[in-house]
C-alpha cells in the first residue's frame, strides 16, 4: 500500500487503462480475425473454420500459438535492425489513439483537448512502419509495397483530415468527448453525409483494406511489404492492421455516429459502451463485406480517385460547412 500512495492516482489510472487497452487490442485482433474468416466464408458459401471449438471459435487462438511458435526468420542480406523494428513500429503506435477514444461518457483514459489531432498523428506513424518494412526487407516486391503505401497514405490522409475538419467546424473543439457530447440531439452523419462518406472511403484506403489493399496486393506483389515476414513479425502487422481498422471505425463512430449515444440504458454513463461497440462493429462488418466483394483497383486509379474526387469534394463540403456555420 505504501508504494501506491506515493504514486499519483492519475498515473495508476493511466497504467490500468494501458493494460486494459493492450489486452483489448489482442482480443480485438482475435475477434476480427475470426469474424473476417467467418464472414468471408459465408459470403463464399462455405462454412469456414469449424474444427477448433464451437464453430471454430478457438481457431484464431490456435493460430496465434502456431505463429508464436514459429522461428523468427531473417532472410539473408536484409537490414537486420530495420527488419526487426518494423513490426514493432507498426504495432506500438496503434495503442496510443485508443487512450483518447471515449468508449462511453465515463470510460475514457484521458480526454485531451487536442484528441483528434493526437489520433491523426499517431495514425500516420503506421505508414512509416510499412516503409521501414519494405525498405529493410531487401526485396523488390516489398519495396513496391512500401512505395505504394506511402503514396496512398499521403493521398488519403488529406480527405480524412478535411472530412474531420468539417465536424470540428461545427462543434468548435478537438476534444472527442465534447464532439460526442454535441451529438446528443442529432448525429453528424445526418448533417455531414458527404464528410461521412469521404471519411469511410478514405478510412478503408488508409487501413490498406481491399479494394484499396495495394501495399499488399497479393496477386501482383506476392504479399507486398510483408513478403519476407513470418511468424510473430507477420502477426504483429496483422494485429496492427486490425487495430487500425478498429481505430478508423471508432473515430467514425465518434465523429459521425454519435459515439455512446443510443436508446437509454441503466448506468448509461458506463453502458454507453454497448452502443459504441455496436456502431464500431457495424462499420467493421461493412469493411469486411466490401473486402470480399470487390476486385482491387489499380494504383493510378486509386490516386486519381483520391486527388480528383475525394479532395475537391471535401473542400467544397468544408466551404459550405464554414459558410453555414458562420450564418
Amino acid at each position: 500500500m505504501e508504494t501506491i500512495s506515493i504514486l499519483p492516482p492519475e498515473l495508476i489510472r493511466m497504467l490500468i487503462a494501458v493494460i486494459i487497452i493492450i489486452s483489448f487490442l489482442f482480443l480485438n485482433a482475435i475477434m476480427m480475425g475470426y469474424l473476417e474468416r467467418k464472414i468471408a466464408a459465408h459470403v463464399q458459401r462455405r462454412p469456414g473454420p469449424m474444427e477448433v471449438g464451437f464453430h471454430g471459435i478457438l481457431q484464431l487462438i490456435v493460430d496465434g500459438v502456431k505463429l508464436l511458435g514459429k522461428e523468427l526468420l531473417i532472410p539473408f542480406k536484409v537490414d537486420r535492425t530495420l527488419f526487426r523494428m518494423a513490426p514493432l513500429l507498426s504495432f506500438t503506435p496503434v495503442i496510443l489513439p485508443l487512450l483518447v477514444i471515449p468508449f462511453s461518457e465515463k470510460l475514457q483514459a484521458r480526454d485531451l483537448n487536442l484528441g483528434l489531432i493526437f489520433i491523426v498523428s499517431m495514425g500516420s506513424v503506421n505508414v512509416m512502419a510499412l516503409l521501414v518494412a519494405g525498405w529493410g526487407s531487401n526485396n523488390k516486391y516489398a519495396m513496391f509495397g512500401a512505395m505504394r503505401a506511402v503514396a496512398q497514405s499521403i493521398a488519403f490522409e488529406i480527405p480524412i483530415l478535411l472530412s474531420m475538419l468539417a465536424v470540428v467546424l461545427m462543434c468548435n473543439t478537438f476534444s472527442l468527448k465534447e464532439i460526442v457530447g454535441a451529438q446528443e440531439k442529432i448525429w453528424f452523419v445526418f448533417l455531414q453525409p458527404i464528410a461521412f462518406l469521404v471519411y469511410v472511403i478514405a478510412g478503408v484506403a488508409e487501413t490498406n483494406r481491399a479494394p484499396f489493399d495495394l501495399p499488399e496486393a497479393e496477386s501482383e506483389l506476392t504479399a507486398g511489404f510483408h513478403t519476407e515476414y513470418s511468424g510473430m513479425g507477420f502477426s504483429l502487422f496483422f494485429i496492427g492492421e486490425y487495430t487500425n481498422m478498429f481505430i478508423v471505425a471508432s473515430v467514425a463512430a465518434v465523429l459521425f455516429l454519435g459515439g455512446w449515444h443510443g436508446p437509454h440504458l441503466p448506468y448509461g454513463e458506463y453502458l454507453g459502451i454497448v452502443w459504441f461497440f455496436l456502431k464500431v462493429y457495424f462499420l467493421l462488418f461493412l469493411m469486411i463485406m466490401i473486402r470480399w466483394t470487390y476486385p482491387r483497383v489499380r494504383f493510378d486509379q486509386l490516386l486519381n480517385f483520391a486527388w480528383k474526387y475525394l479532395v475537391p469534394f471535401s473542400f467544397v463540403n468544408i466551404l459550405i460547412t464554414a459558410v453555414l456555420v458562420k450564418l
Partner: protein, 370 residues
C-alpha cells in the same frame, strides 16, 4: 509512355515467377521495369517440361492416351478427343454415333469447367477472392458428373480408339440437365457480381488490346483470337466429330481488350450449354465402341487433326512408319502461341495491367511445356 532519361537510368529487373501467385504455374517472366512500368516482359518457359512428345515415340499409340490428359489438366477431354480422332483418321476407324455424342457432351462439359475455373482465377488475379469459390462450386458439379462415367476428376482417360470407355446412363443425363439449369441461374449471379462491377470494368476495359492483325501474326487461337473480333472456331471452320449437326454461335469481341476476352468466354459457356442440351435431346441408341484391332498399325505417311480446346486450336500431327508406335508426334498447343504476343503487348504498361493481361489469356503452363 514517354521514356525520360530518368527512366532510362533507373531500369531494373524483376523476376515474376516461377513462384508467383498470378503466373498460375511455373512460368517465369523476366520484367525489365522502370518504377511500376513494365518496359520489356520476357517469358521464360521450360520449368515443367516432361517430354510428352518423345514419350509418344517410344510406346504403342494406345499407351500414350493418359499422357494427353496430363498436358492440359484443366481441360483434358478435348486433348483426349484430338488424339483418338487423329489415330482413328490415320487407321481409318469408324466411330459409332452414340460414342460421338458422348464425346461432344463430355468435351463441352469439360470446356465449361475450364472456363469456370478461368473466371475465378482471373478475378483472383484482379484481387477479388470470392468469385473463384463460386466458380469452384459450379465446377465441382461438373467434376462429379464426369467422375461418375470416366472414373477420374481431372486427368481423364475416357475416350478410346473407336469410341469411349463406358456408356453413359440415365443418371448422367439427369444430372447434366440439372446442372445446366443450375448454371443458367448462376450466370445471373456472375453477371451481378463480376460483369457489372465497376472496378472490374475499369481493370479490364481498354487494357491489353490485341488487334486482329497482331492476333493473326502471333497465331493466337481460341477465345483470345475471337476476343479480337475474328470468328475462327475449329468447331465451325474445320468441323470435326458431329459438331456441324448442332446449332450454336461463335461469340466474338469488338476491340480485343481483356473485357472482350472475358465476355467471349462467358458467352461461350452459354453456347456450350446449348450444344450439350441439343446433344442430350438427340442422343441415339447403339454401341459406344467399334471393333478395333488390338494392335493398331499406323500406316506410313503423316496425318493431322485439330480440335477446339478451351484455350484454342489444339492440333496433333502424327507421322507413322507402319508399326504401332508413332514415328513422330507433334502437339500444337494454343497457350504457347497465345503467350507469345506478351513481349509486344506488355511494353510500357503498369504491373497490375500485366497481371490482368496474363490472366485474360487463360494460360496453362504444363500445356506449353508439355
Amino acid at each position: 509512355m514517354l521514356e525520360s532519361d530518368f527512366q532510362k537510368q533507373n531500369r531494373f529487373f524483376l523476376n515474376m515467377g516461377p513462384q508467383h501467385p498470378s503466373t498460375h504455374g511455373v512460368l517465369l517472366i523476366v520484367l525489365e521495369m522502370s518504377g511500376e512500368y513494365v518496359l520489356d516482359p520476357q517469358p521464360v518457359l521450360g520449368f515443367i517440361h516432361r517430354m510428352h512428345e518423345k514419350m509418344a515415340e517410344s510406346k504403342p499409340c494406345q499407351s500414350f492416351m493418359p499422357n494427353t490428359a496430363r498436358m492440359d489438366y484443366v481441360c483434358a477431354l478435348p486433348y483426349n478427343h484430338g488424339y483418338v480422332s487423329l489415330v482413328e483418321r490415320k487407321a481409318g476407324i469408324e466411330v459409332p454415333r452414340r460414342a460421338e455424342y458422348i464425346r461432344v457432351i463430355t468435351s463441352e462439359l469439360n470446356r465449361v469447367a475450364s472456363h469456370l475455373l478461368w473466371l475465378g482465377a482471373y478475378l483472383l488475379d484482379l484481387g477479388a477472392f470470392t468469385p473463384i469459390l463460386y466458380g469452384f462450386d459450379d465446377r465441382e458439379h461438373i467434376l462429379d458428373i464426369l467422375e461418375d462415367i470416366t472414373g477420374s476428376r481431372l486427368t481423364y482417360c475416357y475416350y478410346r480408339f473407336g469410341g469411349v470407355n463406358q456408356d453413359i446412363d440415365d443418371k448422367f443425363v439427369d444430372s447434366t440437365r440439372a446442372f445446366i439449369k443450375r448454371l443458367r441461374k448462376r450466370f445471373v449471379i456472375y453477371e451481378k457480381l463480376v460483369t457489372k462491377n465497376i472496378i472490374f470494368i475499369k481493370r479490364t476495359e481498354n487494357i491489353g488490346i490485341v488487334s486482329p492483325d497482331m492476333a493473326l501474326r502471333y497465331g493466337m487461337t481460341g477465345p483470345n483470337l475471337r476476343g479480337s473480333g475474328i470468328a475462327y472456331d475449329v468447331r465451325k471452320n474445320e468441323p470435326y466429330s458431329i459438331y456441324p449437326e448442332f446449332d450454336f454461335e461463335v461469340p466474338v469481341g469488338e476491340q480485343g481488350d481483356c473485357l472482350d476476352r472475358y465476355m467471349v468466354r462467358v458467352r461461350e459457356m452459354e453456347q456450350s450449354l446449348r450444344i450439350i442440351e441439343q446433344a442430350l435431346d438427340r442422343l441415339p441408341e447403339g454401341p459406344v465402341r467399334a471393333k478395333v484391332p488390338k494392335n493398331i498399325k499406323l500406316s506410313p505417311g503423316d496425318c493431322n487433326f485439330a480440335v477446339e480446346a478451351a484455350r484454342g486450336e489444339l492440333s496433333y500431327y502424327l507421322v507413322g512408319d507402319g508399326t504401332g508406335v508413332p514415328y513422330r508426334l507433334k502437339v500444337r498447343v494454343p497457350s504457347y502461341s497465345n503467350l507469345s504476343c506478351l513481349p509486344e503487348l506488355g511494353r510500357g504498361i503498369l504491373l497490375p495491367d500485366l497481371v490482368s493481361i496474363l490472366g485474360s489469356f487463360d494460360l496453362v503452363i504444363p500445356e506449353m511445356d508439355r
